[in-house]
Subunit: 377 residues, 2 copies
């Protein structure tokens, strides 16, 4: 069988890795950050701008695309890449996270999840097999398996039962594949906040032959230190020759701390969502453009990021747009944040490729500043 994807390591610094993930629609240099395009669009940003920001892989959402516009329609229109006008690779989350967040509209059995659509009230039955079928029909480069997502504060017993189910669902998903040569599949390690359960589940998932391995169930309010502990437990247990993906994380410092611990792939809504809410990641810190002090600031948003499209405008103008809730403000700050995140990935990769441990340390220090909200600002 020809695999849809392969992964080459090109360098390491300690546990940190640099590599290339080869996918049907292109190569992804890692570490890589995926902008979130839930409904087949990164909010407000067109594919040309996405490419210019440095993105090489985009995330979309199985459940949401299933509801609108529907996977069969996307297939008839030539597949998700053509539909979005993005000629690069696409990874879809299975939709588990979204479905399981609809607590009052959800029934979960061993078969799968039955969920009542918030759009039209109809019940939809999402199983591991259905999730695979939707993703293969969309024509994505990477499909994520359906996993059971449980509450962050779940008991040990509940986590044990749930990780076992997630493994069973993964095995069903593997059997349901029809286009393994066109769509790669990643499994997901769960295990809550219990180190031994995380370790056990990582080993269980690692024993299965998958194109890549993800760590899920983090960035759900557990805090930076707990998250890092769980990565430290799971990452070393995943196959060294396959890509590793930390789902839904995080601020730039969370990402770099995960890179240092051997993670290759990331997605997060923060750069886009924060941008829409008037916040910018800069090398000086996370700036809230609603703050009065920016109203008369003629300087560029981030002198340390000359490639940012927002730097063509003054902080004062951006602050004005944010105050007036103007679309252009949301868009420029989103573009800026995406460019910032990609620049962090570029610097991390460059340090690892060069074997520059000091450079990686320096980046860890600098992204801590970039991720913090400066006092008095």
């Amino acid at each position: 069988m020809t695999r849809a994807s392969s992964f080459d390591l090109v360098g390491t610094v300690g546990a940190a890795r640099a590599g290339v993930l080869h996918l049907p629609h292109g190569d992804v240099p890692t570490p890589a950050f995926m902008p979130v395009g839930t409904l087949g669009t990164v909010k407000g940003i067109d594919p040309t701008e996405l490419r210019a920001s440095g993105a090489t892989l985009v995330l979309a959402n199985t459940y949401h695309l299933w509801e609108r516009p529907g996977h069969a329609r996307v297939q008839a229109l030539g597949g998700i890449q053509r539909f979005m006008g993005w000629d690069g690779p696409i990874l879809t989350d299975s939709g588990g996270y979204q479905v399981f967040s609809l607590k009052d509209h959800l029934k979960v059995t061993e078969e799968g999840a039955t969920v009542r659509s918030l759009l039209d009230g109809t019940w939809r039955h999402l199983t591991p097999e259905v999730a695979v079928e939707i993703q293969e029909t969309l024509g994505v480069d990477v499909a994520m398996v359906l996993d059971e997502c449980i509450e962050a504060e779940a008991s040990r017993e509940r986590v044990i039962a749930s990780t076992a189910r997630t493994t069973r669902w993964l095995k069903r998903a593997l059997l349901a594949r029809r286009h393994a040569d066109r769509t790669a599949m990643f499994g997901i390690v769960q295990g809550g906040m219990f180190p031994d359960l995380r370790a056990e589940h990582a080993e269980e998932i690692a024993s299965l032959d998958l194109d890549g391995y993800a760590i899920g169930g983090l960035s759900v309010g557990e805090g930076h230190d707990a998250m890092v502990s769980m990565i430290e437990v799971a990452a070393p247990r995943l196959p060294a020759d396959r890509v590793r993906y930390l789902m839904g994380v995080g601020h730039p410092n969370d990402i770099v701390e995960a890179i240092v611990r051997g993670i290759d792939l990331f997605d997060c809504v923060l750069p886009t969502r924060m941008g829409r809410h008037g916040q910018a990641y800069t090398w000086e810190g996370r700036l809230n453009l609603k703050n009065k002090r920016f109203q008369d600031d003629a300087g560029p948003l981030d002198p340390g990021l000359p490639e940012s499209p927002a730097n063509r405008f003054s902080r004062a103008y951006l602050a004005h747009l944010v105050r007036c809730e103007e679309l252009l403000g949301k868009r420029l700050l989103t573009l800026h944040n995406l460019t910032f995140f990609q620049e962090v990935m570029r610097q991390a990769r460059a340090a690892v490729v060069a074997g520059d441990a000091a450079g990686l340390e320096d980046l860890r220090r600098r992204v801590k500043i970039a991720s913090s909200s400066p006092g008095g600002r």
Copy 2:
């Protein structure tokens, strides 16, 4: 005195004119359409895209910029062009239209209009002199005088009193100018829907030495035919060697009918507002992308407008974005509509410059189709 602007006629077809309006920040080939950038931004569109759409002159709003971010702040930041990142000319409406629409928050006297801000509840006193001062401080290329805007159904007596006041306010505005060499000033013809009063006011305003002459108080629900009648009365009475501006009009067919009657300059919220609401002007008609029939349409939005940035995507994708209320949909349809309006202006100008009466007639026919909402769609 050096004037801030001059106007050269380069061709005519009947009453239709082609020309060049020379302004401090650049030349504007006419007929010209100004995108509306009320708060110093055309909603969702950046200046580079605005330029690419064919725009050469942008409209902003005195009253709104006075409230936010304030004219003194804009001046300190280098003027409105630098503030917006738009290096071309800018015209500001005086804000009269906006102020007079705040009926419950308004007191009007001979001195001016006192209006209670919807933002912070403070009372602001807008006089002809204040309007000039704000606009000169912003550093706009063209300032519009403050005029009294009254209800469309106003009585003859009320219109007579109001046009007289508008003339007195214009004379006060002329006396208040400090930078006539940097900021041009246009007067505004009112007169309601009374042909004789329109004619009289046009002659009165034309007798004053202004950089340009606008026709106001139209596009307020009077209908296409009444609007055209008022233009036919006013336009021929305005100086032939100065630019003529029809405020707030309209659909492409309204614009072309006005061009045929001797108007040079236009602004309207329609291309931007309609775009945000999922409607596209095309050579096939005005399309509502919410319509079911577009959900599976793999074709481009407007095959007749190859330069439209929206044509990189299918109608099906645009329909999806519109249904999901995605920012990218609003932005692409706005860009498309702006490009469409500029293409109409380009074709009108080309026909007039070439002395091509048949071409102009053909355009009149085609924009009627473009402005209509096709049945069964």
